[in-house]
């Protein structure tokens, strides 16, 4: 398997500058995925002790694009060279998956925001959309003091990774949807953190589920699995539907934290 993969890569022409930049971008995405492991301390929401009726939903932060990650590859045993090869392969997967989602007119950002809005309303909250941009992949540093309709608290959501992930290269470790989000509810009047948590749909990592302390996890839906990336890319409708399910279930789990 290793020979086949690296033989294929080695047979390509030398990397162009744009391609190299995509590789670097892919490596950065991988780093972001690993950074997702840096969870935030869990702080539970106490609905009985806080009068929160209207929530300002800050525009959720999303990575530039979805990622299709192999959590373990032969390249990881070969230092920087292996990392560069892995990065090139992931960059290729990511760009092809982006085309898949565009073909299906699927926007994870729109779906997630919509699902959170619906989920909060179902739990008795009024929701006000608070458009905001942020400079980095983290919670907002300062929340607005005057929104159009007044809000009691801001819900700040930072998606650190979404797309598909496989634990390894074998058929027994297929690609499945993945979604990682950090959530924080902040009181509008004094910026006190009322709730904070991390939700991971389909966590994969060293001892993933056994060691998932301090993170709310959602097991993946078994019907959405692809033994290879080529199979995933060849069924755009199912691939997009799998990510749709992951997005909605993650949003619902975030809303459950505010019951």
């Amino acid at each position: 398997m290793t020979t086949a993969i690296y033989g294929a890569v080695a047979g390509r022409r030398p990397m162009s500058v744009p391609r190299m930049s995509r590789v670097v971008g892919a490596l950065a995405l991988l780093a972001l995925g690993l950074a997702a492991c840096a969870r935030v301390p869990e702080i539970p929401f106490d609905r009985t002790a806080n009068v929160v009726k209207t929530i300002g939903l800050v525009t959720p932060r999303f990575p530039d694009s979805a990622s299709v990650i192999l959590a373990s590859t032969p390249g990881q045993s070969f230092g920087l060279i292996g990392a560069l090869i892995d990065g090139a392969m992931q960059s290729d997967r990511d760009s092809r998956f982006k085309a898949v989602l565009e073909q299906q007119s699927f926007s994870a950002q729109d779906k997630f925001q919509q699902a959170v809005t619906v989920g909060l309303a179902a739990r008795g909250y009024s929701v006000v959309s608070v458009p905001m941009t942020r400079d980095k992949a983290d919670f907002v540093a300062k929340y607005p003091t005057d929104t159009g309709p007044p809000v009691d608290a801001y819900l700040d959501l930072v998606t650190t990774a979404y797309g598909y992930i496989a634990a390894g290269v074998r058929d027994s470790t297929p690609y499945r949807p993945n979604f990682v989000v950090k959530a924080r509810l902040v009181r509008a009047t004094d910026s006190t953190v009322l709730m904070q948590d991390t939700v991971i749909y389909n966590p994969i990592g060293p001892g993933a589920l056994q060691g998932a302390k301090g993170v709310v996890t959602v097991a993946p839906d078994p019907q959405f699995q692809f033994t290879s990336f080529d199979l995933l890319a060849s069924d755009p409708a199912k691939a997009a539907m799998g990510l749709d399910v992951a997005t909605v279930q993650t949003a619902q789990t975030v809303c459950d934290l505010l019951r």
Binding site: V40, P41, E42, I43, P44, D46, T48, A49, L70, A71, S72, T73, Q76, S77, I165, A166, A167, G168, V169, R170, S172, T173, P174, R176, R184, S191, T192, V193, Q196, N202, P203, I204, G205, P206, G207, A208, L209, Q210, G211, A212, K213, G214, V215, V216, T217, V218, A219, P220, P222, T253, D256, L257, R259
Partner: protein, 220 residues
Amino acid sequence: MRRSVPVARVLVGLVSAVVLAGCAAGTSGPPPVVNLDARICAPGADLTGALAVPLEDGEGILSPVKGVTVKLDMDAACLKPPSGEKRLYAVFKLPDSTTPYIITIASEPVGSGLLSPYAQMLDEQGRVLRVVQRDSFMFHGAALAANLRSHPGEEYLLVASDPASVGQTVSQIQGATQTTTSSGGGFFFYVRTGSETTRTMTYAHSGSVTVKAAPVPKAN
């Protein structure tokens, strides 16, 4: 250099043994208790044997919050409320603290069983002040856990099984990565591989419950 090869083989063997032992540990254990027909249960909870939960610092990796763990098996205390079904339970004495803290209740799998949890916060006389419903417990890996902020006047925590969901099963796909060490030509190198399993658990009256108490983390 020659002597390093056997050492390497021993190391690889040890690593493999540890990995295999870890895999086996996840599914061994007594069968889950899903039927309490044979049990004679009290109408109310007995608070006299409550286990004290310390308020732990929990800061830094050298002092993680450990909490208090109780195994609930067929011989555990049993409760049958006047208008309810039989359930196994354990009672914990909460810390005396003037500042708010966070209580974590975690139900860990035992063999193929997972205690389906339900909890009540009780006052000094055992009166119910707050109920933590079954759906408040969310998966944290293979464990079902809930975090709560402490309230004044809540002296005891009762953790019991939820009869309505006992007997149901849940399946979880678990992906994981492992790093193993190999050697060749006098060199050591690391090989990272992935694996996936499906774990099916039965919600049960029995299981393992851990209760922790720790200060509210600083978030700002």
